[in-house]
């Protein structure tokens, strides 16, 4: 029985392979010189180097936040390689290395436009990021016909410097927090997306982040700008090889939503979670924030978090425009020794703003899973509304489920409502499934998927299917 279980748990992370590809690195460690080197490799303008150096100086003055309900291992920031990229074939600089193409194919990420158009793969434009660089961005031409810019962050800096400069760090300032400052100093690549006025993006856009090299961290930066009246659905996925040591992922995502625009941001986070003894796994410490800048703008966050050894993540929205609205739908599943401290902030500044928070936490094994949130109604947020529902499900007696919301109201015409429940997985439901011949592990997967349905059904179709499988797979070994 133990052997069988072991086999399942070792099998469960199917994305844990390593791609054998020649890479170039900057030396280990973090200093002004390293930052200058990264900036030079990327051929960046002076203003961006200045931005990085300013962030680095801020970061040096800061200390890592300790308020999370997390037992975070000490990170030696001098023991990380901040830039790693597959070497370009000098004879064929425009083509994707076949080893990389194969990697993304294995991960189910469609990099071939032809296959997508033939209907073999679903119609999604992808920016594929491998360690510190974007290897390709598909459907750029198709999108460009509508005036949509979708490219790697580095290319955006080169080709659209005024746009990047206008919006960079306007939502997450360089000194926002310890990890955001670190990212601002060393960020390597990521995706940039601009949807012009009144344009409805004809296909879903996505970024796929792959960590491959050992001893490195990934520090990508994503900037999405939806101009007035535009619409876009954006998806983010990520995986990494199985390794015994932790790897750091400190990303920043900034989203600007202008008047009447609509952005839907979905994440399926499947970084390597570490093994069943808590060895290895990604430390996922990210800052994601959007601003609903204009009247009637809308930003929706949907996340399914199953991976990472540690998750510290709070996709948040500043509701500045009158009558703007935002949602946060989250499923966070932790198993074995995983730890998650995740949630959202909804800051209501504008009149008639609305927000909704639905969070489903699932804890199994020895894991710790926390919801942390802030809902704030400022004095000018006349008639604003928030509703939050945070549920936690416990599977097994050795895990923990915690809820730490803060609600603040300074506006007598605003209403904030928060409800939370914590309970264990229903034995009646389990028995019912068992009686109908469904094995315990499968039954747990089924029940958890039902529990998370309200969130899962917000995901784009193909993402939802993937997320459902992930929830079941991630729970393997949770029933002894």
């Amino acid at each position: 029985m133990d052997e069988a279980l072991k086999e399942i748990t070792s099998k469960q992370y199917k994305e844990g392979f390593v791609t054998d590809v020649e890479q170039e690195y900057v030396p280990k460690g973090l200093s002004e010189a390293i930052i200058r080197q990264i900036s030079a490799i990327k051929g960046e303008p002076q203003w961006l180097l200045d931005f990085r150096l300013d962030a680095f100086r801020k970061w040096q003055q800061m200390t890592p936040p300790t308020w999370g309900h997390l037992d975070l291992p000490e990170i030696d920031f001098q023991d990380i390689i901040y830039y790693a990229a597959p070497k370009k074939d000098s004879e064929r600089p425009k083509e994707i290395d076949p080893a990389l193409a194969e990697t993304f194919d294995k991960l189910g990420i469609p990099l071939s436009e032809r296959e997508v158009l033939a209907g073999v793969k679903s119609k999604v434009a992808v920016d594929a990021v491998f360690d510190s660089v974007s290897v390709t961005t598909t459907f750029r031409k198709t999108l460009a016909e509508k005036g949509i810019i979708f490219c790697s962050f580095s290319e955006a800096v080169r080709d659209y410097p005024e746009l990047v400069r206008k919006y960079l760090a306007t939502v997450v300032p360089a000194g926002d927090n310890f990890y955001a400052a670190l990212n601002s100093a060393v960020f390597s690549d990521g995706s940039f997306c601009y949807i012009p006025k009144g344009v409805k993006c004809p296909m879903d856009l996505s970024s796929y982040f792959r960590i491959n090299a050992s001893g490195t961290g990934q520090f990508e930066r994503t900037l999405i700008v939806a101009d007035e009246g535009s619409q876009v659905s954006y998806m983010e996925g990520c995986t990494a090889p199985m390794r015994d040591e932790h790897q750091l992922h400190a990303a920043v995502v900034e989203i600007v939503v202008e008047a009447g625009a609509d952005v839907r941001y979905s994440t399926v986070q499947n970084w390597y979670p570490g093994d069943e003894h808590g060895r290895g796994g990604i430390l996922n410490l990210v800052t994601k924030r959007g601003i609903c800048k204009g009247e009637g703008s809308h930003l929706s966050w949907t996340q399914v978090e199953t991976g990472s050894a540690i998750t510290w993540k709070y996709p948040s929205t500043i509701l500045k425009g009158d009558y703007s609205s935002s949602e946060f739908y989250s499923v966070a599943l932790t198993n074995n020794y995983q730890q998650a401290d995740t949630g959202t902030k909804m800051i209501h500044l504008g009149r008639g703003t609305k927000s909704r928070i639905i969070s489903k936490g699932i804890s199994a094994g020895h894991s710790q899973n926390s919801y942390r949130g802030l809902v704030q109604m400022n004095p000018a947020a006349e008639g604003a509304r928030n509703y939050s529902q945070c549920d936690s499900l416990l599977i097994g007696s050795l895990c923990g489920a915690h809820t730490f919301p803060v609600i603040r109201n300074s506006c007598p015409t605003a209403i904030v409502e928060h409800e939370a429940t914590t309970s264990k997985i229903s034995e009646d439901q389990l028995f019912y499934c068992n009686q109908r011949g469904i094995a315990p592990e499968e039954a747990v997967g089924l029940i958890v998927n039902g529990y998370a349905k309200e969130v899962l059904q917000r995901l784009p179709m193909e993402f939802a299917v993937e997320a459902q499988k992930l929830l079941s797979v991630s729970l393997e070994g949770s029933i002894g």
């Binding site: 309900h69 416990l394 506006c411 409502e417 928060h418």
Partner: protein, 196 residues
């Protein structure tokens, strides 16, 4: 019967320990006109211990009220219930911080907490931090918190019956506070400014 404590006037212990089979039923009141601070830890250390706590705050001017409740389930089969209701008017400041903690061995715990406030003026502020920290799995725990204003439909219903607006608003506040108010002796109606 309830033990009633007026915060800031009556002596309130900072920690109460409830052993097996023991129970406490208490109501804490922050009266209008005075700032008040309550910090109370209740530990349920024996099987079957029960806590039934309620609290009321009525702030009309510039009161500063803070309430910190730390309810710790350290043994199994205990129950706790906390219910707070209050209003913040004028330039008052209210902060409620309530933790339900359930230790790994405290199976079969039932723990509930609610804190509902009405924010009645632009100058007032209410912050509510309800928290659940749970390490046992066979539990039923919940918290609910809301900060809002009286219902317009309710107000219209009363006015349509001929109840003048001011009186209707008074009744609405009594209605809102009633789950806690009903646990208090009659004289509290006038102490908190609601002659019945």
């Amino acid at each position: 019967m309830d033990k009633v404590f007026v915060i800031g006037r009556d002596e309130i212990p900072s920690k109460v320990v409830l052993g097996a089979g023991e129970s406490l039923r208490a109501t804490f009141v922050a009266l209008p006109g005075a700032s008040a601070h309550l910090s109370l830890t209740v530990e349920l250390t024996g099987e079957g211990a029960e806590l039934d706590a309620a609290g009321l705050f009525v702030c009309r001017e510039a009161e500063n009220v803070s309430i910190e409740m730390n309810v710790r389930h350290l043994a199994g089969r205990c129950r706790s219930n906390q219910m707070f209701r209050g209003i913040a008017d004028g330039r008052s400041r209210v902060r409620f911080n309530g933790l339900i903690y359930v230790e790994q061995d405290a199976q079969k715990t039932e723990a509930y907490q609610s804190c509902h406030s009405l924010l009645l003026s632009e100058g007032a502020r209410v912050e509510t931090d309800p928290q659940l920290e749970i390490y046992a799995d066979d539990v039923v725990c919940s918290h609910g918190a809301a900060i809002g204003y009286p219902s317009a439909d309710e107000l219209f219903y009363m006015r349509s019956r001929g109840i003048p607006e001011q009186e209707a608003r008074r009744l609405q506040i009594i209605s809102f506070l009633s789950p806690v108010l009903s646990r208090l002796p009659e004289e509290f109606y006038s102490l908190i400014g609601f002659q019945s």
